[in-house]
């Protein structure tokens, strides 16, 4: 074990400490908070990269599944049941922390420039964003599901605070609320799943104990495994914005652009993917859940891509793209898990889906952050507009931004040799691999392939509309390239998009992430990797998707690429009904609003009415009944003394009757 691992908890703690420090800085000194935030995240990035490097190059091949773990008490229910907090470092953790912290660092640095105009409010911004990064890293490093849930919720809190950063804008406040509530809806299932696991799986949700083949088998035979995994995927659907919980992520664009980059690229949305990857030993024994994950992912991949075609908001296009790309990851993970579940325990050896999912996560983090930051740079230079119809022709003005964004777009579209190509094709290949076991995967693969085409179309639509053609922005806007502190991260990220795929695949064959499912199959070599670039290139399906990617770019170019952004093609399409469906995002926002208003508020109003009229009405009715009877009894006092005498005589009669009756009644 590497001694450095003892300090690995710092990876998560350092941004959180930064947050604590920032909250103590007087708000009159925002500059200081920037420094603290950058340093805090930089420490984690440095530490995680260092650990990655050491583990990878140093004694990489000898690393045990659980490299490091420690814990402190949280709640102890009984002798056998307790939940603790701790950290857990294995390959997945190392990879994820490295990706998250380094991309976050770049985004934080970028923010220093982007948020410059915010003045004293930067304190809040940098404080929260440090916290956000910290809890995301905590989520990754948690050593049990319960702790994961803690950070999971805190990530939600961070997103709430960041999306609602401009809280005085009603739309921002609303979007923040929506993000929180919708993800919480998913989290509810996750919580349910965790409680379920905690209750049935020997009262522990520690990964180490949970993933023992014996405990997984026990879970499986108890019948709760499918339910638990499905429930947990509910959480993942919320956080990773999968159909039908995707809509919040689009609204979340109300936050500052670096926040979007953070949420989409580095942190929040990856949490769902991470969860499924982390729970792989469980998913790979739950075929129904695995299939469900894969199907939802593939469908979302295509579905979101169509919506991306229908929007002119530059950030929203990217948001849909994120949703779509996350779908690919789930598709790959689910397919891999399904295949594994069809193989006997202990002899499973299919790691393509898993590797592809994680690989794509990593690549997506990079190119999505790049795209967002570049988009932010565009907006920054144009003075804030997000509407692509008011852009165009920026290529010459924003040279660096346009080039870096092109890199990002190419990667996203899956053009060789950019990183996105490798991971996306691996994902599609994984889906295709599932067809051997279930015909459903054919459909899934079809979704994926159509999605790939659409991806290329919409991202180049974005690029062409923004940078190509003639300027459509008002002439008085003075367009200028962003400051170096913003441009530098762009360049770094662009380089990464170019090299990451080749490097990882070439150097390591993406071995590191493959390790994980080996827990389930101790007999198989932990390095049962997929065959790297060569394997991919040897497959005809790859060429199909590559062709589709190029075709997509071509379509884009033909429609938007020749400076005809406001052209007939667009205006014609905009009138068409299909297009309006896309613009309205398949009416999902309306549906959510209706749902919120009808189910949430409507039922609430109904219940409130019921509460005040019926339940409280009965209470008040009892009171009124007493008043009523009081009035009647009162009226019996007529003031006529003879009536009183009569009452006495009547009383005598009644008592006499009582005396006769009571023995009869047996009293």
């Amino acid at each position: 074990m590497d001694p450095l691992l003892q300090y690995s908890s710092l990876i998560a703690l350092s941004p959180i400490i930064a947050f604590a420090l920032i909250s103590m800085v007087p708000s009159s000194r925002p500059r200081l908070t920037e420094w603290i935030a950058v340093i805090g995240v930089a420490v984690s990035a440095a530490l995680s990269l260092l650990i990655l490097a050491i583990e990878f190059f140093g004694n990489g091949s000898g690393i045990s599944p659980v490299a490091y773990q420690q814990q402190i008490p949280f709640l102890r229910f009984s002798a056998g049941a307790a939940v603790t907090l701790g950290i857990y470092v294995d390959w997945l953790t190392v990879v994820m922390t490295a990706v998250v912290s380094s991309v976050s660092l770049l985004i934080v640095i970028y923010s220093v420039g982007y948020m410059h105009a915010e003045g004293a409010r930067r304190k809040r911004y940098f404080g929260v964003i440090s916290m956000f990064v910290g809890v995301m890293l905590g989520l990754i490093m948690a050593n049990n599901l319960f702790e994961l849930y803690i950070f999971w919720e805190l990530v939600g809190l961070g997103s709430y605070l960041l999306i609602g950063f401009w809280y005085e804008k009603p739309s921002a406040a609303k979007a923040a609320k929506k993000a929180f509530v919708v993800t919480r809806f998913g989290d509810m299932f996750l919580l349910f799943g965790i409680v379920l696991l905690l209750s049935v799986a020997d009262h522990t949700v520690m990964y180490q104990a949970l993933f023992q083949p014996s405990s997984v088998t026990a879970l499986k035979s108890s019948g709760f495994l499918t339910l638990a995994t499905l429930a947990m995927f509910g959480g993942a659907m919320g956080k990773s914005a999968q159909f039908p919980l995707q809509d919040w992520l689009v609204d979340a664009m109300e936050g500052p652009t670096p926040v979007s980059a953070m949420i989409h690229g580095a942190t929040m949305v990856n949490a769902g993917v991470y969860l499924v990857a982390r729970m792989y030993p469980l998913y790979s024994q739950a075929p129904i859940s695995a299939l469900f994950v894969s199907f939802i992912g593939a469908f979302t991949a295509m579905f979101a891509a169509t919506m991306a075609l229908g929007t002119f908001d530059i950030k929203r296009v990217l948001a849909f793209s994120t949703i779509s790309q996350l779908g690919y990851m789930f598709m790959a993970l689910g397919a891999g898990a399904y295949v594994l579940s069809r193989q006997p325990i202990g002899a499973a050896s299919y790691s393509l889906g898993y590797s592809a999912g994680i690989f794509h996560l990593m690549n997506q983090a990079i190119f999505k952050a790049l795209l967002f930051l570049a988009a932010g740079s565009v907006m920054h230079s144009l003075g804030g507009t997000q509407d692509m119809r008011e852009m165009g022709g920026l290529r010459s003005k924003l040279r660096i931004t346009s080039v870096t964004m092109l890199f990002g777009s190419l990667s996203l579209a899956g053009i060789i040799p950019f990183s996105g190509f490798f991971s996306k094709d691996a994902a599609l290949e994984a889906a295709l691999g599932g067809t051997a076991y279930s015909p459903v995967f054919l459909l899934i693969w079809l979704f994926g392939i159509v999605g790939a085409l659409l991806t290329a179309v919409y991202i180049f639509r974005l690029w062409f509309m923004t940078f190509a053609g003639k300027p459509r922005y008002p002439p008085e806007v003075h367009v200028h390239e962003s400051p170096p502190v913003m441009v530098l991260p762009l360049i770094v990220l662009a380089v990464l998009t170019l090299v990451a795929g080749v490097a990882v695949l070439g150097v390591a064959g993406f071995a590191m992430a493959v390790h994980y499912p080996a827990v389930l199959s101790p007999h198989v070599s932990p390095y049962a990797q997929f065959n790297g670039a060569l394997g991919l290139l040897g497959d005809p399906a790859t060429y199909l998707s590559l062709f589709l990617a190029f075709a997509g770019v071509g379509i884009s170019y033909s429609v938007w690429g020749r400076g005809r952004s406001g052209s007939k093609a667009v205006s014609g399409a905009i009138t068409s009904r299909v297009y309006s469906v896309l613009v309205e995002r398949y009416y999902f926002p309306q549906m959510y609003d209706k749902l919120g208003i009808w189910i949430g508020y409507g039922v609430a109003r109904g219940l409130d009415f019921f509460d005040s009229k019926v339940v409280d009405g009965i209470v008040n009715g009892v009171g009124r009944f007493f008043i009523f009877s009081s009035e009647n009894i009162r009226r019996s006092e007529t003031g006529y003394v003879q009536q009183y005498a009569g009452a006495i005589v009547l009383g005598i009669v009644v008592i006499a009757v009582l005396l006769i009756l009571l023995p009869m009644m047996g009293v």
Partner: protein, 104 residues
């Protein structure tokens, strides 16, 4: 000797007449008179039961009770009439149902 049962029946009847009078008559004086009838009925009982007493002491007791009750009745009627007179002076009536200011 008069049979005890007959006398008790008579006293019960007298008592009932008294109760009836209390309820039936509106004039306060008549109400008083009816009450006196009730008391008298009780007195008759005392006297008639004293005749069947096993010991002479117990027998004497009954008659003494009757005397005490006569005394009380007399006192009662005196106080009652005094009150009625005051009532007459303040309300100008002795009809019991005409004074019903106090109610509810």
């Amino acid at each position: 000797m008069i049979p005890v049962l007959d006398v008790t029946i008579f006293s019960a009847a007298l008592f009932s007449v008294g109760v009836f009078g209390v309820l039936y008559r509106r004039n306060a004086i008549m109400v008083l008179l009816s009450i006196e009838l009730m008391l008298n009925a009780a007195n008759i009982n005392f006297v008639v039961f004293s005749g069947t007493a096993p010991t002479s002491a117990a027998s004497a007791d009954g008659q003494v009770y009757a005397l005490i009750s006569i005394a009380i009745a007399a006192a009662e009627i005196a106080v009652g009439l005094a009150i009625l007179l005051v009532l007459w002076k303040t309300s100008d009536t002795v009809e019991v149902n005409e004074v019903a200011t106090l109610r509810w």
